[in-house]
């Protein structure tokens, strides 16, 4: 058995090589992402069932959502996917400054996403479009008469909207926590071309969060 002096600091004792450790971590992350897709799949099924049952109601309610804000958020997330991919690239070429800058940019984009989401939510809640029992659309703003949306089963659309975007938003929040954590580690200089597993894994997670939004945006806002 090789002595401890031969081991890189990041190599855990039960792995034979850094490569084995990296491959294992990456495979574990992919499996986790599959579980995430299945978590959302339940909601996508519910969406599909109720959309087929109530096509007109869904089409009508979708008009209440502001596609411009949704579109803006789509662009923000796409940009953040780009920056995190760039961050991984900089880690691979030992460019610490590039890595830190791009991680911070990703974090900022995630913030922007949630701020926009906050404004979207509050504009709805203000007019009585809430999740669950208090649902009672009322008031007029920007030329939209919310009361006219108080139709049977209308709540179903917004339950799905809030649950799906809410759980997605929670994932964005978790992503921000992860990026804060690895940014600190990156500033401390823990990552290099020899070891950047956490950056890569957070990047994978973040791409998944983006991809889910890429499906949510057209399904909820556009069609």
């Amino acid at each position: 058995m090789a002595s401890h002096a031969d081991h890189p600091a990041h190599l855990q004792h039960h792995f034979v090589s850094s490569e084995q450790q990296f491959d294992s971590a990456k495979m574990g992350m992919w499996l986790f992402l599959i579980t995430e897709i299945l978590l959302f799949s339940g909601m996508f099924v519910a969406y599909t069932v109720y959309r087929v049952w109530y096509p007109e109601m869904f089409a009508g309610m979708a008009e209440l959502l502001d596609w411009r804000l949704g579109g803006l958020n789509t662009l923000v997330l796409l940009a953040s996917s780009f920056t995190v991919a760039l961050g991984i690239h900089y880690a691979q070429v030992d460019n610490k400054k590039g890595l830190v800058t791009n991680l911070i940019l990703t974090f900022v984009f995630a913030c922007i996403f949630l701020v926009v989401k906050y404004f979207e939510y509050s504009a709805k809640i203000e007019h009585g479009i809430v999740l669950g029992d208090g649902f009672a659309p009322h008031g007029v703003s920007h030329g939209v008469d919310y009361a006219s949306f108080d139709v049977p089963m209308a709540q179903q659309f917004f339950s799905i909207y809030y649950v799906m975007t809410g759980i997605h938003g929670f994932h964005v929040l978790v992503g921000m926590g992860l990026f804060a954590w690895i940014t600190v580690r990156a500033i401390k200089g823990e990552f290099s071309s020899a070891y950047y597993t956490p950056v890569e894994l957070c990047g994978l997670y973040w791409h998944l969060v983006d991809i889910i939004w890429i499906f949510l945006f057209p399904l909820l806002y556009l069609i």
């Binding site: 339940g42 519910a46 179903q156």
Partner: protein, 553 residues
């Protein structure tokens, strides 16, 4: 005494914060055994209440709460984690020739997540009454009060534990195998844990989101399962069974793995049709995802769906039959050594075959309409879960007990315990098949006079079963203090946990990474077992084989 995983550090902290898969396995063993005890006591109470029609020992409400908690504890806190988390954790890395699972910290986290989930479920009792069985069908579950919030939250949390364990095992099996341990040389226990893990990873998230939706339904009234708001209660059933049917395979697949290992080891023979047995686990895992609708033949799903689900359900009989036939063939070709673990394997063949066959019967559309929600169903799933999983788990526990604890249990008491379990189990549940066909509905507090004799028989059976299980617990615990010291390889097994490590295992499992040169049941390539007159199992109760670090063919 040499250094082993039990004695290298004895402090409480070294146990509670241990990253060692063996210690985590033992902690799981304690936790699931307590869950089994709790669920078992409730079962005895339920059976005692059913000794006579009308009220016997408890009110109808207490009865409903008892069978609900019995089911929730047994399913989520006992049977799902039992084999993978206890024996999978303890045995899997050693059988792979690895020092540990791929993610030891995640493994420890899984254990505490499991405990937290179980605690949340139990706290439901403090909040209010529970009811509705383990299925929590909406809209009824919405009416039982806030306790449903705790049950859904607890099941959600325990689901994470299951997912993380499965994920950990899949990566470990893919990435941590010892040199020479090809996929075709994996012990069949590993294959079955692999199939189980796939189901855990793919199915559990769906129950997770279902529990989230049910939680929000109760908390906020989001209407997703509420017909008054345009929702659909049948959608809940689809979601629920999309997880819970595959979950049946989370329960039974590891049991298949144990039985395969027992058949090979105690028949001193290669397991017949190794590849078929291995891949049939994967096939069952795959097909298991396509049959959830057979729980809903009378729930109002379309007739076409029911026919398709019924047909796919029959298909599951094929890979399952492949296993049973190969096990019998293994014994036929081998020389069977009837030690306690093997008795459980034989018992399993009998009880599981009944459970599996009645499962096919219930998959028949017309028959199911008659038998749906009767005691026939109760008997069927107890024959699969208890007659399948628990009996295999007992076999596995006896098989690996010497390796886990370093002590031999009393063989005579082991045989008596096995006999009591077998008699008690069949006396409890076989009458329930008969009652079911005669129309006794499940979950009922009261029953018609005509069912009295069969109910009494069933209850007496449950007492015999309880005596058997307490006897087993008794002699196993006794062996910890007074048991004979176990040799490294008491059963003459050929997998790495028997041939390449001490008993109990070294903290890092192996002094040197083993090199695997033969299959898990290649007795014809293991002259060292037979040349010394050992290994065939005849003439000595316990054989001993000194572990060596490498083998040559």
């Amino acid at each position: 005494m040499s250094v082993n995983y039990l004695n290298h550090d004895k402090s409480i902290k070294s146990w509670l914060l241990s990253l060692d898969h063996k210690r985590i396995g033992i902690m799981y063993l304690v936790a699931v055994a307590l869950s089994f005890l709790g669920g078992g006591i409730l079962a005895i109470l339920v059976r005692t209440e059913l000794l006579a029609p009308g009220q016997t020992i408890m009110s109808a409400d207490a009865y409903n709460q008892s069978f609900t908690l019995h089911a929730v504890l047994m399913i989520f806190a006992f049977i799902i984690p039992a084999v993978p988390a206890v024996m999978g954790n303890f045995v899997l890395p050693i059988q792979l020739g690895a020092k540990d699972v791929a993610f030891p910290r995640l493994n420890l986290a899984s254990f505490y997540i499991y405990l937290a989930g179980a605690a949340i479920v139990l706290s439901a009792l403090a909040v209010g009454r529970i009811d509705g069985g383990w299925t929590f069908y909406a809209p009824y579950s919405m009416t039982i009060g806030d306790s449903i919030l705790f049950i859904t939250a607890g099941v959600f949390v325990m689901g994470f534990s299951s997912i993380l364990t499965g994920l950990n095992f899949i990566v470990t099996i893919h990435k941590m195998r010892a040199p020479g341990l090809t996929w075709n040389r994996l012990p069949l226990f590993i294959w079955s844990i692999y199939a189980t893990s796939i189901v855990q990873v793919l199915a559990t998230p769906v129950i997770g989101i279902t529990m989230v939706l049910l939680f929000l339904e109760r908390l906020l009234g989001i209407g997703i399962f509420d017909p008054a708001l345009g929702g659909d209660p049948v959608l809940f059933q689809h979601f629920f069974w999309f997880y819970s049917h595959p979950a049946v395979y989370i329960m039974i697949l590891p049991a298949f793995g144990i039985i395969s290992d027992l058949m090979g080891t105690f028949s001193r023979q290669q397991v017949s049709g190794y590849k078929f047995v291995a891949l049939s686990s994967v096939a069952i895992a795959f097909l298991g995802f396509l049959v959830w609708g057979h729980h809903m033949f009378v729930s109002g799903q379309s007739a076409v769906s029911s026919v398709v689900f019924s047909l796919i359900t029959y298909l599951i009989g094929i890979p399952t039959g492949v296993k049973v036939i190969n096990w019998v063939q293994t014994m036929h070709r081998g020389s069977v050594w009837l030690q306690t673990p093997m008795l459980y394997a034989l018992m399993f063949l009998f009880t599981f075959s009944i459970g599996g066959f009645t499962g096919v019967m219930l998959g028949v559309l017309a028959v199911d309409v008659h038998l749906h929600d009767t005691y026939f169903v109760v008997a069927h799933f107890h024959y699969v879960m208890m007659g399948g999983n628990v009996i295999a788990a007992l076999g596995g526990l006896h098989y690996w007990w010497p390796k886990m604890t370093g002590k031999m249990f009393n063989e005579t008491l082991g045989r008596i315990g096995a006999a009591l379990v077998f008699i008690g189990f069949n006396t409890t549940f076989f009458p329930q098949f008969i009652m079911g066909t005669q129309g006794m509905p499940r979950r009922y507090y009261d029953y018609l006079e005509q069912f009295t004799n069969l109910h009494v028989l069933s209850t007496i059976g449950s007492y015999i079963l309880a005596v058997g299980l307490f006897l087993i617990a008794g002699y196993l615990l006794h062996s910890l203090f007074r048991g004979r010291k176990a040799p490294a390889n008491p059963w003459g097994g050929l997998t790495l946990e028997w041939t390449h490590t001490t008993t109990p295992p070294h903290p890092h499992n192996f002094e040197e990474t083993p090199i695997v040169t033969r299959g898990p049941y290649d007795y014809h390539l293991a002259p060292e077992l037979f040349q010394k007159g050992e290994g065939d199992g005849f003439g000595s109760e316990v054989v001993s084989v000194t572990p060596s670090s490498t083998h040559s063919d």
